[in-house]
Amino acid sequence: MKHESIEINSGLLIVLTLMVISIGGLVEIVPLFHIEETVEEVDGVRPYTPLELRGRDIYVREGCYTCHSQMIRPFRDEMLRYGHYSLAAESQYDHPFQWGSKRTGPDLARVGGKYSNEWQTQHLVDPQSLVPESIMPGYPWLLEDELDYSQIEERMVALKRVGVPYSQSQAEYDANVEKFGQEMADKLHVSNATQVLEDQAAAEDWDGKPGQITEMDALVAYLQMLGTMVDFSKYEDGHFNQFR
């Protein structure tokens, strides 16, 4: 093919240009799906329960990711402040992942259990009442608005289609029992979702408003779970180096 025929045929030029510039992206992205070590083998990581899932939706809706990352990098100063670096495995059920790209506020990858439910609720309603120097805006409506979980089953099915192991059939449920244990498998069964969500909301005083399922319940349940799935004390120093 003569160079001139490319230059004078814009359609062909576009196609060939796309092919050439996509090489860089393909070389970087495609192998990650084939390389075995991309997602580490680690115990404890599971899909989100229905309540946590709705909390995560609210996290995304309110744009928390624009100021908070969920990605602790393997640096000494990050370890000292936030804890063990994040594993790829820990966000394997995130669609989309919440790694973020900017830390206006602190990283939240291991915020679960760091503060009490009461603190999280009060802080989300009015951050400056607890941390006067904070520039975070308040989210008082979370405590007022009832949580809408009418579509919880559809949301789980949608995630299931992109690979999150929520179960619908008996075979899928059995596989989850095998993988996550009976108790968790029950929570991940799509047809149980509404009941499971209500039970989890009632099981703990997430937002100081027992008897009412607010958006705050869901968000606090999600935050208190973040980074708590993997028990790093089970793994020796440097264990996860083999996956890189």
Binding site: P74, E118, N241
Partner: protein
């Protein structure tokens, strides 16, 4: 602008002609630019050899550069691990043997080997423990207790006063930080006609109100159900975390916020009596090492001005 000419004395063009007379010069690339380009190619080849680079199948070329670090073997002896160059191995190594990590480790070991009393006697070690404690406090504690430990009345205890709900021994502070606290006062069911006297009586314990005669005896009688935790004389009980009610330090009822208005103070007391208290502090034993917690305890204890 002059154009370089070829041997025939003409400016070389690409040979294309547009619109009859438009030609494109075919000048050579600047020498410096060309060399910079060649160097980047050489650089990339060296990089491929040294570091992880090319994917193939289900793995990738790992490069010949390595990182060494030590891990504890099964029998407790140290063994050296050599890993292909990667950021996680570098991080492990950095945590073990970077100059700042080593310098810190030296002091951490000192704190580890010393008792609290010995640390108090050694100004350098004390200063180190205090500065680590300060940093840890800022990250883990200040969110609730405030940057200066001032707390938040009604929600999170003030650590900057010299009143300690659970006592101020180092051992207690360490165990509370590690295990967390479930601070709980059950809501009291006090009859309508007694609660005013009770509130006033409680205020009188710290000299915030005057109460005498029959009202005092009614209040004292109602206080009997409080005495199980707060003690007969209201001095509190550190084993249960029941606060001293006679010291005029208020942690939950916002008595100082009433600025001497007795009716408002009574409302505050009544609110606590009627609703009880439910305060939780998470335990940090899983997040912080024992030595970090000890240094934090040293910092927290001096916040109260001991």
């Amino acid at each position: 602008m002059s154009q370089p000419e070829n041997k025939q004395g003409q400016v070389e063009t690409t040979g294309h002609v547009w619109d009859g007379d438009l030609r494109e010069y075919n000048n050579p690339l600047p020498r410096w630019w060309l060399w910079a380009f060649y160097i980047t190619i050489i650089f990339s080849v060296i990089y491929w050899i040294l570091y992880p680079a090319w994917p193939y199948g289900d793995t990738y070329t790992k490069g010949i550069s390595t990182v060494e670090y030590t891990v504890e073997g099964e029998n407790g002896e140290e063994k050296t691990v050599t890993e292909h160059w990667n950021t996680r191995a570098l991080f492990t190594k950095n945590m073990q043997s970077s100059p700042s990590a080593l310098a810190q480790q030296e002091w951490v070991n000192k704190v580890k080997d010393m008792s609290f009393e010995e640390i108090e006697q050694d100004p350098d070690t004390l200063q180190f423990a205090m500065s680590v404690g300060h940093g840890t406090f800022g990250d883990y504690c200040a969110a609730c207790h405030g940057a200066g430990g001032q707390g938040k009345i009604g929600l999170f205890p003030n650590l900057a006063d010299n009143a300690w709900l659970y006592g101020n021994s180092y051992e207690t502070i360490v165990s509370k930080i590690a295990g967390g606290i479930n601070g709980m006062m059950p809501a009291q069911n006090v009859a309508e006609d007694k609660i005013d006297d009770l509130a006033k009586y409680v205020l009188s314990l710290s000299g915030n109100a005057e109460i005498s005669g029959e009202a005092a005896s009614r209040g004292k009688q109602a206080f009997a159900s409080c005495a199980g935790c707060h003690g007969q004389n209201g001095k509190g009980n550190e084993a249960m975390g029941a606060p001293n009610l006679t010291d005029a330090i208020w942690d939950v009822a916002d008595v100082p916020g009433c600025k001497g208005d007795t009716a408002c103070q009574m409302e505050e007391i009544k609110h606590v009596v009627n609703n009880g208290i439910q305060r939780q502090m998470p335990g940090f034993g899983d997040r912080l090492t024992d030595t970090q917690i000890r240094m934090l305890a040293i910092y927290v204890r001096q916040l109260g001005g001991n």
